[in-house]
């Protein structure tokens, strides 16, 4: 029955066919959204995670020189937001506080006893701090944007909004 019906539908003209092809192509316009890649170029001892840019989110952890996979993001401008963990700074602090057996600070080859400034403030849990780039990047239709995170182009991010309750 449906074949019969299709046969009875009068086929449109060449112009209408072109219009139909255009109409079929339009829904794919989001394929022209810019592709964005973010590279961790901060420091060999710094890792980042939850990198986001204008609605795109990369959930993995990026070691130094690693890049996110390309992701299509909505066109527009934004800073890159991320969580940063400084492994060297953490390690130095743990050594100073003497929280890990067998690991301590040394000075000129001589082990220095642990000297926590305030035992009550020893923090053993690795902390990831919110950071964002100083620069705002713009990505438009058709762009391939490669954004490098560098130590000179980042600041702490205090703009994290609270949840929106409906």
């Amino acid at each position: 029955m449906s074949l019969t019906l299709i046969w009875r539908v009068r086929m449109p003209s060449r112009l209408a066919t072109r219009a139909a092809i255009l109409a079929l192509a339009l829904p794919g316009c989001d394929n022209a959204y810019p592709e964005v890649v973010v590279v961790n170029a901060i420091d060999e001892r710094v890792v980042v995670r939850d990198v986001s840019f204008n609605g795109c989110l990369w959930s993995g952890v990026l070691a130094f020189a690693e890049a996110t996979s390309p992701q299509r993001c909505p066109p527009g401008s934004d800073r890159v937001h991320f969580k940063k963990f400084d492994a060297a700074k953490y390690c130095q602090q743990q050594a100073q506080d003497g929280t890990i057996d067998g690991i301590g600070a040394c000075d000129a080859g001589v082990a220095v006893p642990a000297s926590p400034r305030d035992p009550g403030l020893i923090e053993e849990v690795p902390l990831w701090f919110n950071y964002q780039t100083l620069s705002e990047y713009e990505a438009q239709y058709g762009d391939f944007k490669r954004i490098e995170l560098t130590p000179t182009n980042m600041e702490q991010d205090f703009s994290v909004p609270g949840p929106y309750g409906h």
């Binding site: 019906l5 009875r8 539908v9 009068r10 449109p12 209408a16 139909a20 109409a23 079929l24 339009l26 829904p27 794919g28 316009c29 989001d30 939850d50 986001s52 204008n54 609605g55 795109c56 989110l57 959930s59 992701q71 993001c73 909505p74 066109p75 527009g76 934004d78 800073r79 937001h81 703009s159 994290v160 909004p161 609270g162 949840p163 929106y164 309750g165 409906h166």
Partner: protein, 638 residues
């Protein structure tokens, strides 16, 4: 702070344009005899005749909305909703009424819980959450047991016959939550004997696939209407995707002697996530919702008396990414009778009872939240008098009895006066109320307060309108005085939810439509309101416009529409804090329809181009809406 000159400017703008939908005036459509399901009904009655064969006189038309024509309403047909380029049904309705504002965050899904949109504001009330506006679907108030408001994604136009937006409170007729207004949805039936199948398949940007199928049939005394909508989208950004599956079936049988029984069931499964702010997106803040609603309606009509009894049961299960899981129920029944006491006097009496209950737990932490069920019973009466032709007076009361809040007395009164040559005046005052939701009373999201009192509002409006063959326009002034408004303040853990003493919303709304100017119909409307300090998601001005045109081209009928929306004075918080840029967005829809000769078959390819100007805008701060995108599809009616 808003400019002092803004109200005056908006007043001038509002008076310069006027409203287009004089919904109180019924459209003439064909309808089967004795449709008790809603406002639309036709009645067949034998006519006395001196001829041998009886002559059947069939009055074709729509019953006025429970006789009350004094309310300020907008009536939107299902075909128009299905053809709308807007992503959801509620957004399509808001396009038809400037004083109705609905938030959005994406191309298809509103969602639930944090980050959800779809809040309905009518004349400054509702929205956050949208529990001050009641949605009544096929005679059943639709709200969740725990959260006290409907799920915006539950409404899809594929089976809607007509939607009626009642602007201004009317708890006398619609009970709790009808403070800002009510949205009445009525599903369709096949009008003639036989069967029809309608399918609509569409695909679009962001991997969006939408498929709906409806089956309508009428065979002898039995009518069937069923349909399925399946929607899936990846969303315009991380976390904005989701899926929505809605199934609906209704069976109606005429038992004779004026009796008719209708059984309805509607189920939905909604999944998605809160994408979070665009600058700091969330990772997998998912939600998963199942809901099911069943209602049984028995209706009887004989002469000047009609009777309707309709029990209903609504159950839902909600699960969130953080371990939250709830199961809630809403149950109740409505018994209502409409009696024409005299050709100019109509009496509506009814009784209703409802019960909201639920359980909630956090499966991650093992916490169970204590919730106490809430129930109420009410009875109401409405008298409609037409002392002379063209003047209608309406008065009504409702008494609500609740174990928690005692006896609540509600009332309303209104008039509509057709003063001739197409002009009319109308006015109305109504006392309405909303009982606190179980969530506000008991659930810590972000906080609760078991001592909350019901909200009460006194709404008044007055307007003037004009209707002719090609021009319809109206202007309305309204004022809502609300006591005990329930508002959340602060953020967890210092958040609180309390009744606030008194607040007032004053506004103007106007619309105009110039229809059938050749192939073109033009619509425009605007509203302005002063919401005081409670500016959170409560815009001070809104404008809508549309141009529709249709033209036969060969065997095809091409229809197109351009419609747009402008929202001004939008804030993310109260006291005018966190201003959001004005919204201005334009959509385009193009449809080509071919009716295949000799068969009841319709083929209609279409395309919708949304955000035609590719503007960056947001209704919710940092929940940026998609840029230009498209949805194309094909509709078949067999």
């Amino acid at each position: 702070m808003r400019s002092r000159s803004q109200p005056a400017l908006m007043l001038l703008a509002g008076l310069a344009i006027a409203r287009w939908s004089l919904a109180q005036d019924p459209k003439v459509v064909t309808a089967p005899a004795g449709d008790p399901g809603g406002s639309g009904s036709a009645q067949a009655s034998p006519a006395t005749s001196t001829s041998a064969a009886p002559i059947e006189v069939r009055v074709v038309g729509q019953r006025r909305q429970r006789s009350d024509r004094t309310a300020d309403t907008v009536r939107v047909g299902g075909d128009k909703l299905r053809a709308s380029p807007k992503a959801t049904l509620l957004e399509s309705l808001a396009q038809e009424a400037p004083d109705v504002y609905v938030t959005s965050r994406g191309a298809a899904i509103h969602g639930i819980a944090s980050g959800a949109t779809g809040g309905i504001h009518i004349r400054g009330l509702g929205g956050s959450p949208n529990s001050q506006v009641v949605v009544i679907e096929d005679g059943v108030p639709d709200y969740q047991g725990l959260f006290g408001h409907p799920i915006p994604d539950a409404y899809a136009p594929f089976l809607v016959d007509e939607a009626l937006v009642v602007r201004g409170g009317d708890s006398v007729l619609y009970g709790t939550n009808a403070m800002g207004g009510a949205i009445l949805l009525r599903s369709r039936w096949r009008q003639e004997q036989g069967w029809e199948v309608e399918t609509d398949s569409a695909f679009g940007s962001y991997g969006t696939i939408r498929e709906s199928a409806a089956v309508l049939g009428s065979s002898g005394p039995v009518s069937v209407a069923g349909g399925v909508l399946a929607l899936r989208t990846e969303g315009h950004r991380t976390g904005a995707g989701g899926s929505n599956l809605i199934g609906q079936v209704a069976v109606r049988t005429r038992l004779g002697s004026g009796w008719e029984v209708t059984l309805r069931q509607k189920a939905m499964h909604l999944t998605g996530a809160d994408p979070g702010p665009v600058t700091h997106p969330y990772d997998n803040h998912f939600f998963d919702v199942w809901r099911d609603r069943v209602s049984l309606q028995a209706a009887w009509q004989a002469g000047a008396v009609s009777l309707r009894a309709q029990p209903f049961f609504n159950i839902g299960r909600h699960e969130l990414y953080d371990g939250f899981r709830s199961v809630d129920t809403t149950s109740g029944a409505v018994v209502e009778s409409d009696i024409r006491l005299h050709p100019s006097v109509q009496l509506l009496v009814g009784a209703a009872m409802d019960r909201a209950d639920g359980t909630a737990e956090n499966r991650a932490t093992g916490d169970r939240m204590r919730v106490r069920a809430q129930q109420s019973a009410s009875w109401y009466e409405q008298v409609t008098v037409e002392p002379w032709q063209g003047l209608q007076l309406v008065g009504g009361t409702r008494e609500v009895a609740s174990p928690g809040y005692g006896l609540v007395f509600l009332y309303k009164g209104g008039f509509r006066w057709s003063i001739g040559e197409g002009w009319y005046l109308r006015g109305r005052a109504a006392k309405s109320f909303r009982q606190p939701t179980l969530s506000e009373l008991y659930l810590p999201f972000p906080t609760s307060n078991p001592d909350l009192k019901p909200e009460r509002s006194f709404g008044t409006d007055a307007g003037v309108g004009y209707a002719s063959e090609h021009i319809e326009c109206s202007a309305v002034w309204y004022r809502n005085d609300v006591d005990n408004l329930i508002k959340y303040f602060g953020v967890w853990p210092a958040a609180e939810v309390v009744n606030i003493d008194h607040t007032t919303v004053v506004g103007l709304e106007a619309q105009v439509v110039a229809s059938d100017l050749g192939p073109v119909t033009l619509r425009a409307g605007g509203s302005w309101q002063d919401v005081g300090r409670y500016t959170k998601q409560n815009p001070s001005a809104r404008g809508v416009f549309a141009m529709e045109a249709g033209q036969p081209v060969g065997i095809w009928r091409i229809r197109g529409s351009v419609e747009g929306e402008w929202v001004h004075g939008l804030y993310m918080n109260n006291y005018g804090q966190d201003r959001i840029d004005d919204v201005f967005v334009v959509h385009l829809a193009l449809r080509a329809r071919q009716d295949i000769p000799g068969r009841e078959v319709v083929v209609e390819p279409y395309i919708m181009l949304r955000n035609l100007l590719d503007r960056r805008y947001a209704y919710v701060k940092d929940y940026t809406m998609p840029g230009f995108h498209a949805l194309g599809g094909l509709r078949w009616v067999l």
